[in-house]
């Protein structure tokens, strides 16, 4: 009662207007609702199989099964649960201790493994590349040789003989050409100086030189 009076006083203090409104219940409820409600709710609970516990559920569904629940058909060694704790602690003592691997040594192992794998990988790439280049160049050379052989086969023997008879002897021609070019290049003579040098050579020597059949004077 005191509580209710305190609440009214509190409300008047905050708002006299709200405190002045009558607390009439404006809502209506169907007749007999509250008197029937407990029975209805219990009916609803049982009809919908709503059980407050598993024990209650089996007791309602099958009292026979509920009565059998406590008759344990399995047997246990004497004092099994009393000795269980000491049995577990004895087993714990005899267990081989687990050797843990430190995280640092793990990382070193991984790093070494990665380095070896990398080295093998790079070596393999180089090896494969070299083999490929060799094979490729070998194939190209073989192809070129094949082309050359084919070309030679197409040339008639007469044409080859004609060509070879017109060629100077290798040793003489190459050496002389190289020497001539070398001499001219080293001397670097102008016309005036050349005529001076030629004046110094006797005419007989020049006639003999010009008559030499191995020299091509027309050049």
């Amino acid at each position: 009662m005191k509580q209710a009076l305190d609440i009214v006083a509190e409300l008047k203090e905050i708002s006299a207007l709200v405190a002045g409104i009558e607390k009439n219940n404006l809502f209506s409820v169907p007749e007999g609702y509250f008197s029937e409600f407990p029975e209805k709710i219990l009916k609803h609970i049982y009809n919908n199989g709503i059980y407050s516990s598993a024990k209650e559920e089996i007791e309602i569904l099958s009292p026979f099964l509920a009565s059998l629940k406590h008759n344990q058909p399995f047997s246990l060694p004497d004092n099994y649960f009393d000795n269980l704790k000491s049995q577990i602690s004895t087993e714990e003592e005899t267990l081989t201790p687990v050797r843990s691997i430190s995280s640092k040594s793990k990382w070193i192992k991984y790093a070494v493994a990665a380095a070896i794998t990398g080295f093998i990988g790079i070596s393999a790439i180089f090896f494969i590349n070299n083999n490929f280049t060799k094979n490729h160049s070998g194939v190209a050379a073989a192809q070129n040789n094949k082309h050359t052989d084919d070309d030679f086969n197409k040339i008639s023997d007469d044409a080859l003989e004609g060509y070879l008879s017109g060629m100077p002897e290798k040793s003489a021609s190459i050496d002389s050409v190289e020497t001539t070019f070398y001499d001219v290049a080293v001397l670097d003579l102008d016309d005036k100086r050349l005529s001076n040098i030629l004046h110094e050579i006797p005419d007989e020597d020049l006639i003999v030189y010009a008559q030499d059949p191995s020299l091509d004077i027309s050049l």
Binding site: S15, E22, P30, S52
Partner: protein, 184 residues
């Protein structure tokens, strides 16, 4: 609520005994059903909705009462369940109405106007309209204090809020209701 607490302890003991379980449950319902119903009804407004929510509350009580720890009073525990169930229902209603229609008015306020004897000019109905405009927490605090005359100490157990915060909420709620009535 003092002597009522010792009665509740006795009822709980009877509920835990399979032979007297149904009888104890019926007694608990008879004792608290009206209080719980009106607490729910003021929040959800319509009788059909209040009935559905109250049924859910009773089923939860039936399932949980065996394991109810007597740290708190049965009365506050029941109010907690009723409040949570009502708020869950209102949340579902809000979601449904926001999907179906673009109605600015709260769905509960609309239900209030559909009540049989609704008269917007009567102060009592204006008060109901004003309560529906309040934020959820203030609405709960106002209802529990104004209608159920619940002490702040017990209310703090039901709503899990400090007494100081509850007093402030009640003060704000009353002021907002006053403003609404004066301006409508």
């Amino acid at each position: 609520m003092g002597n009522s607490h010792s009665d509740d302890i006795l009822l709980l003991q009877e509920f835990r005994n399979p032979a007297t379980k149904e009888k104890a449950f019926t007694a608990i319902l008879k004792k608290y059903q009206e209080k719980l119903y009106w607490h729910i009804r003021r929040l959800v407004v319509q009788h059909e909705d209040a009935n559905d929510v109250l049924q859910n509350v009773c089923i939860k009580v039936w399932n949980g009462l065996e394991n109810f720890r007597e740290d708190s009073q049965l009365y506050t525990w029941l109010y907690r369940i009723a409040t949570n169930e009502s708020l869950t229902y209102l949340e579902q209603l809000k979601r449904k109405s926001s999907v179906s229609i673009d109605n600015e008015e709260s769905p509960v306020a609309a239900k209030l106007q559909a009540e049989k004897d609704f008269d917007a000019n009567k102060a009592e109905w204006k008060l109901q309209m004003a309560i529906q405009q309040l934020p959820e927490k203030q609405r709960l605090v106002f209802n529990l204090r104004y209608y159920d005359e619940m002490p702040y100490e017990e209310m703090s157990k039901v709503l899990d809020t400090s007494e100081g915060a509850l007093k402030a909420s009640y003060h704000h709620a009353v002021k907002k209701i006053e403003d609404f009535i004066l301006n409508h």
